[in-house]
């Protein structure tokens, strides 16, 4: 297990290196070399950039090596457009917001998906199954920004109707601010997980070991928890890595629509303002974060499934 973890971590580092290189290459493909010092907004930033990135030296290998070196130290440089602010500072401010939102959304999607999926499987082809699967199809087919808009509309109407501000429509700060965005953010993934859990559960329901458990006289509820749910959840855990990636991605829209000062919005704004250091920093940081999440999910899976853990 320890060797496996170590191997995965080394693979992860190599992957992050690849992401950083690709980011660097993409940024230097921009016509007119955006990292050229003439793009800097003020003299002080220009000098800072030249010193920091060796902009007077050739792109390859000097600038590339300087870039890799600073990335390896976890130093993402200074923002192009926000004077005297380091990219690290900006990320440090925005990331916890996105992380909280994402965590709540993942929690919501995973719990909802597993429970609803199990519910539909046990009630296969009966009313709860039909209703939930219809909603799941809607959840998969409707883009998240529509959910976001509908959610806001619903909150506006709710507040109008009740005559007081039950839930904030947008913004950030309290737990109430997180509720609706996280719900919207998790909805698509929840629909996807529900579907997966349902098919996984249907497979498990008819397995030999469930039959064995019933033949042993194990009560239905215990069969459900110990034998069916536990085994049906395993495939769901394997897709949790991609699901987290999807939720972080979805965060872009939700953060824009709900005016949440998270990393997604920071990135979109950086692109709009062509703040290249911030773009690069955010991309590499996100990439590394996702790689770490995928590794983490794999390790969790290994811990849950003895077949993986012990081999």
């Amino acid at each position: 297990m320890w060797r496996y973890t170590l191997r995965r971590l080394i693979q992860g580092v190599i992957t992050v290196w690849f992401i950083a290189t690709a980011t660097f290459a993409a940024m230097h493909m921009v016509p007119g070399d955006p990292l050229g010092s003439e793009r800097a907004t003020t003299e002080s930033i220009r000098q800072n950039l030249e010193a920091r990135y060796g902009l007077d030296k050739p792109v390859f290998p000097d600038q590339y090596l300087i870039f890799l070196g600073s990335m390896a130290r976890g130093d993402f440089g200074i923002s192009f457009t926000q004077q005297n602010r380091s990219v690290n500072d900006i990320i440090r401010e925005a990331f916890p917001v996105s992380a909280q939102l994402g965590l709540l959304a993942v929690l919501f999607a995973a719990l909802g998906g597993v429970l609803l999926g199990a519910l539909t499987a046990i009630n296969r082809n009966r009313l709860p199954d039909v209703i939930i699967m219809f909603l799941v199809i809607l959840g998969i087919s409707i883009p998240s920004f529509v959910f976001a808009a509908l959610g806001q509309l619903a909150v506006v109407r709710l507040n109008d109707w009740s005559g007081q501000s039950l839930l904030p429509v947008a913004g950030w700060g309290t737990f109430q601010h997180m509720l609706l965005p996280a719900l919207v953010l998790g909805l698509g993934t929840m629909a996807f997980l529900t579907r997966l859990m349902r098919s996984s559960m249907l497979e498990v329901v008819n397995t030999d070991y469930v039959r064995t458990a019933r033949a042993k006289g194990v009560p239905p509820l215990r069969v459900f928890w110990r034998h069916q749910l536990r085994n049906a959840v395993l495939p769901v855990i394997t897709v949790l890595g991609p699901a987290i990636a999807a939720i972080t991605t979805g965060g872009f829209v939700v953060e824009l629509v709900f005016a949440i000062p998270g990393l997604g919005r920071t990135f979109v704004e950086a692109v709009q303002q062509l703040d290249y250091t911030l773009i690069m920093g955010t991309t590499v940081f996100y990439g590394a974060f996702l790689v770490l999440m995928v590794i983490l999910v794999d390790l969790i899976y290994g811990w849950v499934d003895p077949r993986v853990r012990l081999s």
């Binding site: 992957t15 690849f18 992401i19 690709a22 980011t23 993409a26 940024m27 493909m29 921009v30 016509p31 007119g32 199809i137 809607l138 998969i140 087919s141 409707i142 883009p143 998240s144 920004f145 529509v146 808009a149 806001q152 509309l153 506006v156 990636a245 972080t248 991605t249 872009f252 829209v253 824009l256 629509v257 990135f267 979109v268 692109v271 709009q272 062509l274 773009i279 955010t282 991309t283 996100y286 990439g287 996702l290 790689v291 995928v294």
Partner: protein, 477 residues
């Protein structure tokens, strides 16, 4: 009935010769594709989806030929109109100024004594607040009874009935004399019902007493503008006060008065082009790549798959945007080709992995080994065994890739990083529609509906195809 109790004849016990049909039932054999098509046809949801897809393609390709409305033409007096079939406009002369209503026998302002009175009460709301003539989008004329001691009046407009002083809405303007009791609203309106409110002011302080009336405003066009837009053939063909027919907007208009139906059709071109072309390209590339890696095996395979793994690890949406930036597309510019390119560059590895897995699996199958033993060459194996047996999987992947690509386009356009206005795409239309969601929900609803229906149709078609093409399912039934 007991056996021995039955009386049986000797004939009952005469032997019967072996029946030839004892060897089992011969059923007519069906080819893989025949069988798959038969199964797909029985799947009602998949067939319905297939029809929806055909309808969408017709909507995109044939629609603009039938509905000849310019998707870019702005019509500022028909902004954010809800869907309607028939529409007509009232012709009016241009710029006829209304002189208003001024009462000669009424003082223009309050007396100094009244103003100086510290005990003076609040002015009441004017009485007799009413519309003069026909209210239309170019002009709404209002008049009311004067209020004693008033030195002027404030006119407000709102889209709903005001119930408190802070809900009167937009302050339109004011009159500067107590006997000036007429007001004309000439701010180009859209046809709807508005609530006009009025309050009196004694020159120092505005009263909180107000009166509101609803006004149904109908669409009006000046004769000059009607002529310019081709609504009437010549200046003599119509006169002020006539009604002429306007092109209908079955799906309403957007915030610039552009026809939603035409924009949806043109938007479908963008969305479906990206949604179908990109998957075709990356599924093709992924198939070739994966098949080559799987067939080559060994180190080549390892190396090729390691590259695919790297590409998969790239954060998808960030790199979609990054590639766009790298192609020199600035914010607010439309980049359909970079979007396509980015989709292809980032999406092929999943297909490559899948196809490689299939090829590796098929390579070990008994029938391929047997064919090899019989002396089959590589290209024969590929054409005869590997390709037909992976084609189903590839087709299913393609069908599921389409909704994903459509989603991605919509998503990027929505956050302003894909197709940008004025080029219509369902995503960019949703983006524009979001801003006016509260007042005219149809601007968000229709593009979102089209995205959802398309994604739904392709997803269900994919489900149907997967069930129909899955060879494991053939033996059941």
């Amino acid at each position: 009935m007991s056996n021995q109790a039955r009386q049986l004849s000797a004939a009952d016990f005469s032997p019967v010769s072996l029946r030839p049909d004892a060897q089992g039932i011969a059923r007519p054999s069906q080819s893989y594709w025949q069988d798959a098509w038969r199964r797909l046809r029985r799947n009602r949801r998949a067939i319905a989806s297939l029809w929806i897809v055909i309808f969408l393609l017709a909507f995109t390709l044939i629609g603009p030929l039938l509905w000849r409305v310019d998707p870019y033409a702005q019509n500022l007096d028909r902004i954010s109109q809800p869907p309607s079939l028939a529409a007509q406009t009232l012709l009016v002369e241009r710029g006829v100024q209304w002189e208003g209503v001024t009462l000669d026998d009424w003082p223009a302002g309050p007396s100094q004594a009244w103003l100086a009175d510290p005990e003076r009460g609040e002015l009441p709301a004017p009485e007799g607040f009413e519309v003069v003539g026909d209210p239309h989008t170019l002009s709404v004329r209002l008049t009311w009874q004067p209020v004693p001691h008033a030195a002027g009046y404030q006119v407000y407009r709102n889209t709903y009935r005001p119930t408190a002083i802070n809900e009167l809405g937009l302050p339109l303007g004011e009159t500067w004399a107590g006997n000036d009791v007429g007001y004309e609203d000439q701010l180009a309106l859209t046809p709807s019902t508005y609530w006009y409110s009025i309050t009196a002011s004694d020159g120092l302080r505005e009263s909180e007493q107000f009166v509101s009336i609803p006004v149904d405003v109908q669409l009006a066009t000046t004769i000059d503008s009607a002529l310019a837009r081709g609504l009437i053939p010549s200046r003599d063909a119509a006169q002020a006060g006539d009604y002429v027919a306007m092109p209908a907007n079955p799906f309403g208009t957007d915030y610039l008065g552009r026809d939603m139906l035409a924009r949806l059709m043109y938007g479908a071109r963008t969305s479906l082009f990206i949604g179908i072309a990109a998957p075709l390209l990356f599924v093709f590339f992924g198939t070739v790549y994966g098949a080559f890696a799987g067939f080559a095996g060994g180190r080549t395979d390892d190396f090729m798959m390691r590259i695919a793994d790297f590409v998969i690890a790239l954060p998808f949406l960030l790199f979609m945007i990054l590639i766009r930036v790298a192609s020199g597309i600035g914010p607010g510019e439309s980049g359909i080709m970079p979007l396509l390119l980015a989709l292809v560059v980032l999406s092929w590895p999943a297909t490559a992995r899948l196809v490689r897995g299939q090829i590796l699996q098929i390579r070990e199958e008994g029938y391929v080994q047997a064919a090899r033993l019989l002396g089959a060459r590589d290209h024969y194996l590929i054409l005869r065994h590997m390709l037909p047996n992976t084609l189903g999987v590839i087709l299913v992947t393609l069908t599921f890739a389409i909704p994903t690509a459509i989603f991605t386009e919509a998503f990027l356009s929505f956050i302003g990083m894909g197709v940008a206005p004025p080029v219509p795409s369902w995503g960019s239309m949703s983006n524009e529609g979001l801003k006016s969601m509260l007042n005219s929900p149809h601007e968000l609803f229709f593009p979102a509906l089209f995205i959802s229906i398309t994604v739904l149709a392709f997803n269900m078609l994919g489900d149907g195809l997967r069930d129909a093409l899955d060879a494991r399912m053939r033996s059941r039934e």
